[in-house]
Symmetry: C2
Subunit: 310 residues, 2 copies
């Protein structure tokens, strides 16, 4: 069973009930609040040996990343963070090193909560015989009136990404990236964003999820997909494109806006200090296609990361 199917099953099993307006399947959940602002909740579990490797990565960077990936989910929903809830499983094998490990971990966490202006409001701490695991849950509040969802893309829309893709894991960018709250804030103030999500599992996989949520298809233009300088120049063009489409953990935003808004958006963004790269279009149907520079189209292979194997 793979993650997409697992999530689909959960969605059928646990339908939304008030106050849940948006539940399983988006970057976060939206809870309505009687006569108040909706509350948005995002959560991510990070595991030693999967999302980081404590043999080579400092606890401080692990703490930083555990907050950053959740901030990226909030950015995707155009929300500001309001509080963090952190649960950790600490290996008993750390023994006397537990205190300095926790000190470093929480200094990485504090770096992020200070930079983004929110606080740690709760959590749970346990020791066990297993490896280190950390779950972060963030609450958030919309930057404008309401959160931006994955499900709002419309046929005819233009697709953008906020920066170059690929090579994040090999170059450690996944530990040090800045979540795109600033560009999200600029976007919701300067245009109408139909759909948005963050790129954690690779553009092809995440585009598939956004288009499925929106009941639309997409055509990406291979020549326009920005390949990150972290992807080796020695690779062939085909391999470099595959890295941008499938490596994952880029934590840039993928978004869809109307054709009319799209025309001026990259220039406006550039003047504000942001990058918006036009990578393709939303179309009717459910197909995902890749169009080469000669206009030839082929099915987009979904190569990204699915978390539950077998």
């Amino acid at each position: 069973m793979i993650e997409n199917e697992f999530v689909r099953r959960l969605t059928r099993r646990f339908p939304n009930l008030p106050p849940v307006e948006v539940g399983i399947g988006d970057d976060g959940a939206v809870l309505s609040n009687v006569s108040g602002t909706p509350v948005v909740v995002v959560t991510d579990l990070l595991l030693d040996g999967v999302h980081f490797d404590l043999r080579v990565t400092s606890p401080q960077l692990v703490g930083r990343k555990s907050i950053a990936v959740n901030l990226s989910d909030l950015a995707a929903m155009a929300c500001e963070p309001t509080a963090a809830f952190i649960s950790i499983a600490v290996p008993k094998s750390l023994r006397g090193d537990a205190a300095s490990f926790l000190e470093a971990l929480y200094s990485g966490i504090e770096e992020m909560t200070t930079e983004y202006g929110f606080t740690l409001a709760g959590g749970d701490t346990n020791a066990w015989d297993g490896a280190f695991a950390i779950n972060v849950c963030l609450t958030g509040t919309p930057m404008k009136n309401s959160p931006v969802l994955r499900s709002g893309a419309k046929a005819g829309d233009v697709l953008f990404v906020t920066g170059p893709l690929g090579g994040s894991l090999h170059h450690g960018r996944h530990l040090t990236f800045s979540p795109r709250l600033d560009v999200a804030r600029w976007l919701v103030s300067n245009t109408s964003v139909h759909a948005m999500m963050d790129l954690s599992d690779g553009l092809s996989m995440d585009l598939h999820r956004m288009m499925e949520a929106s009941h639309t298809g997409a055509v990406l233009e291979s020549a326009h997909i920005p390949v990150h300088s972290d992807v080796p120049l020695l690779l062939s063009d085909r391999e470099r494109l595959a890295a941008a489409l499938g490596d994952g953990e880029d934590f840039e935003l993928l978004l869809s806006v109307s054709e009319s808004d799209a025309a001026t958006l990259p220039d406006l963004a550039e003047r504000a200090g942001f990058q918006l790269v036009r990578i393709g279009r939303v179309v009717e149907g459910s197909e995902l296609l890749l169009q080469d520079k000669h206009g030839r189209r082929s099915p987009l292979e979904i190569t990204g990361w699915q978390h539950v194997a077998d």
Copy 2:
């Protein structure tokens, strides 16, 4: 470093910032909401080999317990659940059994969400080489105007528990208990509860935490502490009392009300079908004392569970 001290340090490091009204150190956090109802957030991480043992416990009971312990935290704050967020780390060693494992786990979860009328609204699922871990985060809303905290006990108050204590882990009660939402609901409608928390780590430890939060001390009457029938009758009276004070995972509520309200409360509760056992008093100072049937007082030994050793 032990848990109480670790939590104290975090509290100093991460002071409350709006909208966080109550942060680290209570059963859950309280977030204010402009012109709306406050949102309460609780979270608990449960680990194989610590909080359950998958060699002898079904995934269904694990799912059930993971929700129940969080509902117990909400009951302690006199809040109704509104949504669940569940992150799981699934052992790769399950291979082909992963699907049936997850099916059983989520059927135990669904049992609880259906019984208590809320839904699963999000989460995260990962496979790894480690053992099974599950983090549950619940959002909640106050049963009456505002949540009940640990910090409201006053010298002169009377302390109650909602049922007998001890022997939970050995008898598997920790897997099947009913979180005390019903009695919490009755309490906030029928009296003024000054402080409340749930008993997860043993009465002596949890009382210590409540009194510390309230800047008060307490005197427990050993003859009045209700010992659960799960505690073997073959044990000495002294051992049976120690089990009630230190075994943990009872998930009854500990609460404090004024002397005048306390007089009639147990009878009123009994007529409504609830048990309230008067176990002692809140006093000035910070000492915790145990008074025997002859009126002799000795320091209460804190024997409960602390999660982070060394």
